[in-house]
Amino acid sequence: MTQPYRLSAGGRIDRARTLTFSFDGKRYTGHPGDTLASALLANGVHLVGRSFKYHRPRGILTAGGEEPNALVGVGRDDAHFTPNLRATQVELYDGLTSESQNRAPSLERDYGAINDVFWRFFPAGFYYKTFMWPRKAWTKFFEPRIREMAGLGRSPQTPDAARYAQRFAHCDVLVVGAGPAGLAAALAAAKTGARVILCDEQSEAGGSLLAEPDAQIDGLPAAEWLKTALAQLAAYPQVKLLTRTTAFGYFPHNMIGLAQALTDHEGERSDAQPRGRLWQVRAKRVVIAAGAIERPLVFPDNDRPGIMLAEAARIYLERYGVLPGRRALIFTAHDGAYRTALALHRAGCAIAGIVDLRPNAGGPWVAAAQKAGLAIYPASTIATTDGRLRITGATIKPIAGGSGQRVSCDTLLMSGGFTPSVHLFSQSRGKLVFDATLDAFLPGAPAEACSVAGSAAGVPSLAEVLASGAEAGAAAAGGSAVSYQVTNAPVAQGGFIGAVPYHGDPGSVRAFLDYQNDVTAKDIALAMREGMKSVEHVKRFTTNGMATDQGKLSNMNALGIMSPVLGKPVPAIGTTTFRMPYTPVPFGYFAGYARGELFEPERRTAIHSWAEAQGAVFEDVSLWKRARYFPRGSEDMHKAVARECRAVRNGVGIFDASTLGKIEVVGPDAAEFLNRMYINAWTKLQPGKLRYGILLREDGFVIDDGVIGRITDTRFHVTTTTGGAARVLTMMEDYLQTEFPELNVWLTSTTEQYAVIAVQGPMARKVVAPLITGADISAEALPHMSMVECKIAGVPARLFRVSFTGELGFEINVPADYGRAVWEALMASGKPYDITPYGTETMHVLRAEKGYIIVGQETDGTVTPDDVGYAGMIGKAKPDFVGKRALARKAFAEQTNRKQLVGLLTDDPTLVLDEGAHIVADPAQPKPMTMLGHITSSYWSETLGRSVALALLRDGRARTGEQLYVPLATGNARVSVVAPVFYDPEGTRLNG
């Protein structure tokens, strides 16, 4: 028999179509319009999970996003699997595959349930006190066991196959929640012509109207009115209705995060269209119409499968045509449960009785129940329940005391009243105000441009809900509200917070408060005995409200328990912070498009495609891809680099330096500006000349370097490090705009304007010269550190005579679109000289042989120009430059043993030291040893046939000639301190 609990008529499901789905491997059927929860209930399945700590059997408790128990994993395979979904929000589709969580081997027989037998040993805070000893047992035993036992669903092990979309949006009015209040608000706002976004987490708009068979609005049955309202909204082009869309976070300045599920309900989705979309909505005004959440009652054993919230049961009945059971006992402090009892009674479910905590409940709903002949137990409580995998009965006792009466039932429906959903309002940092008559925190003064309408604001009746929505919508858009006529919707009242009186040894009962984290009323009491007085401390000690449902069901009851113990009214205790997300949002929504090659820009030079075709191996340098070396045949990096180094030293090499940062500094005060920024003097640098510049931060430490060319009196071509390009430009703009606004100079990034090709080696001029027109590049006309504007292969170029290798060299700047063509022209021109492309690794080796520093390698943000031996470059006559005053501080001037750049040569010429390794005087000294410095660069030098290293060493220059040690994993290496230049110290090769 299929779906034995499905009624033959009623609800918003499509009985003409049957869907098949599986839960824990067992197949069931349902209908379009079902959620996984409603379909399971239609099949009589209540047991859907095991609790987090005690592994107690748990059933479906709610019909919405507040569900703490029915957490399931859904997905046809690992790549489409999502754990921890609330079955109450999973829309049913044909072929849906789902599984329960936190149980082994099965829901019915779960080994972890042993925890429930020994529950006395796991009180609140037990993990702060246990597993402390022996220390080693933590990693070997306790942690693996706990990890196995704890947690919720399983994480998929394969990458998520789905795509995720993102979208920025703006509107005049964002309405959160498309129940009656939200609809009225959206209609009122839309009428003014405002741009409106209306979102709702459910599959269809309507909220409570989707389970409203009785009320009439403006003479129409609620469901009909809903249709017309949606039709009206759809007719406005500037209104966007987003269903399956949860407003999960309220961010500053009215930015709301929405998570819109796009294809989850469509079944085995193709991955072509995105699964979901993250919206970042900037709204001028926000109307929060998020409704209210029914509270459970806290009584002993209130967590057996079959125990459900009363309003949830009514929703399953009215919206899905499902009976929660055959014989229901009602336990309530609110009139709404009477309405549920009456509806179930009409639908053929036996009502075992209505147990009401209140002594003299009255009003229309109570009267109707009495008239229908339902048994009512006023001023009574439930002392216990029975049943293992499903409730089988409960014991009713008068609050005043006396003997209990056991009533059998297969369902227990409870209501402690409603908690307004103030989460978003609270996230927006709006103040909450406690309303003693409603026993609820209500929105008070807002902190953002927002208002709250409907049940979220504690408004009780449908008529008032519509009115408050219309008013809020009109106010948000500057319009006027319409009024709605509502009939046949009697108000339901009542409520209770805290633990109900239950007559029994408080130490031996478990009345659950936070179902998802297994927190009981007793745990709250224990926390207070342990001295936790603040609600925030109680929360952390007990973990109440810290599960994925964030205490939607438990927070108010916790306060209700604390209040009498502390002797303080609830508002004096306060409430914990409401945090985003309102309901969990899959990580994919936040990642969005930013996966794989779209994660971040991969910057490629104009010459990249050539290097790629040559089989270059690339490395990441900031966002750039740079060719690291160009292996030939079966060469490894070591062999390739050795060959490239030989080519540059003996013949000619060609290198793509396009990634170097470039800044065009233009204006009458350009030289003065550079004087103030760089340590060097620029005034006397002649047009056509280059100078190596060092840039400090204001604290005196080296932050960047680069060659700077003077094109004309008023125009400089500044280069920076690859990684420093943006930072240096920002720093220069900062000084220019805020400290030196009187200077007439402007900065333009030209990094990408030019492709930069370095041609280096004794044969460099022979390769370059034939391609040049408009300039003489002979040694006499264009000496080292000079530049000329000319044409190369017909393309305009800024030709720099400069070297980062120690050889005769040129750096050729050409407009980037021509970069590859000029490169190929140089390759052709260099063919007779066996021109060899080289990569960044060879560049590093060649410059290290010359002792040229790399900012970020020889410097680490604590290195001064003098530390690296560049003090001589400081423009002594300059009154000021960035960092000058800091270097003049006494603390610097008097410091004697600063780390200084030196060269190191190992005794064993084949040993290449580890970069980062420390240097000590005596490797036999007791640990911790006195560190004298560290290796900054270390390479095999093919040119010298031995290893070389650069290091920062305390008082290093004075130690030249000393022998020190570098402790390595392989033993202690003895090294000699030498000057930091290993090759051609006189620099004669530069002038070739």
Partner: protein, 89 residues
């Protein structure tokens, strides 16, 4: 995400901006005349208030200008934004 009023471009989303630290920390016109204590204060010491704060932002992905904002660090409420060289309103 904050909505920051650029004095040149109007309200723009925070991701177009870069934070620039405390405002009105003036670099002395002639640093040589500052003693070590004053220069150390200038280099390293900044306010970190809970409440109103005058701070610099740069409309990095916009007009490129640095400017000042008076923002409450607790509520994120922005009371004013003004150009470099102008005084705190």
């Amino acid at each position: 995400m904050l909505l920051i009023p650029c004095p040149y471009c109007g309200n723009r989303p925070e991701i177009e901006f870069a934070y620039g630290g405390e405002a009105h920390v003036v670099r002395a016109a002639d640093p040589r005349k500052e003693d070590d204590a004053a220069w150390t204060e200038f280099l390293y010491f900044r306010k970190n208030p809970r409440g109103d704060h005058a701070e610099r932002w740069r409309h990095a992905f916009g007009c490129g200008r640095f400017f000042n904002v008076k923002r409450n660090t607790y509520t994120d409420h922005i009371e004013a934004s003004y150009r470099i060289g102008e005084t705190l309103p």
